[in-house]
Symmetry: C2
């Protein structure tokens, strides 16, 4: 079973829904790097599964969720500017696991 | 010169800065798909150049910009939920160019 590096970025209106999506991302072993941004590595089927779970949770008329899959090569070229990583949430040691 | 498919996602506090970054993304030929989200295809050097331009524009203490590069294979697996595409900004015909 191959895995994929992922970034999950969301814009969710209701606090309760947003917290439940964040909880799911954590449950899937992803690392929070900003208010509405998680990253990590998932088995391919888990990436699809997380998408379905998020779809069921959100209000599709108001909320947006982007599930971005990356191969290692593209992942390394991601350019994160400014406060893209919230240093209160993530330090270099954690980031080194992925970059 | 090879090119790359890109998603640019940003969270920028000040309207003036946000508008200038959006203008640059349009100037680089990217398609706006949501308030703070653009996608398109860029030559590799243009991807790097856009990153530098955005870095110079934003307030790195308050704003975040993510420049995500994708090969075609990963790009096809992107999962966009809910209002990830603002149908007032982008229709199926435009999306078909990329997906």
């Amino acid at each position: 079973m191959s895995s994929v590096l992922v970034w999950i970025v969301y814009d969710i209106v209701e606090d309760g829904v947003r917290n439940r999506v964040a909880k799911q991302c954590k449950k899937f072993g992803l690392q929070r790097v900003q208010k509405s941004v998680f990253l990590g590595r998932l088995e391919n089927n888990r990436f699809d599964e997380l998408g379905e779970i998020c779809r069921d949770m959100i209000d599709e008329d108001t909320d947006s969720v982007y599930l971005f899959p990356f191969c290692q090569e593209d992942f390394r070229r991601i350019n994160v500017l400014g406060q893209g990583f919230d240093r209160k949430l993530v330090n270099d040691e954690i980031l080194a696991k992925f970059f």
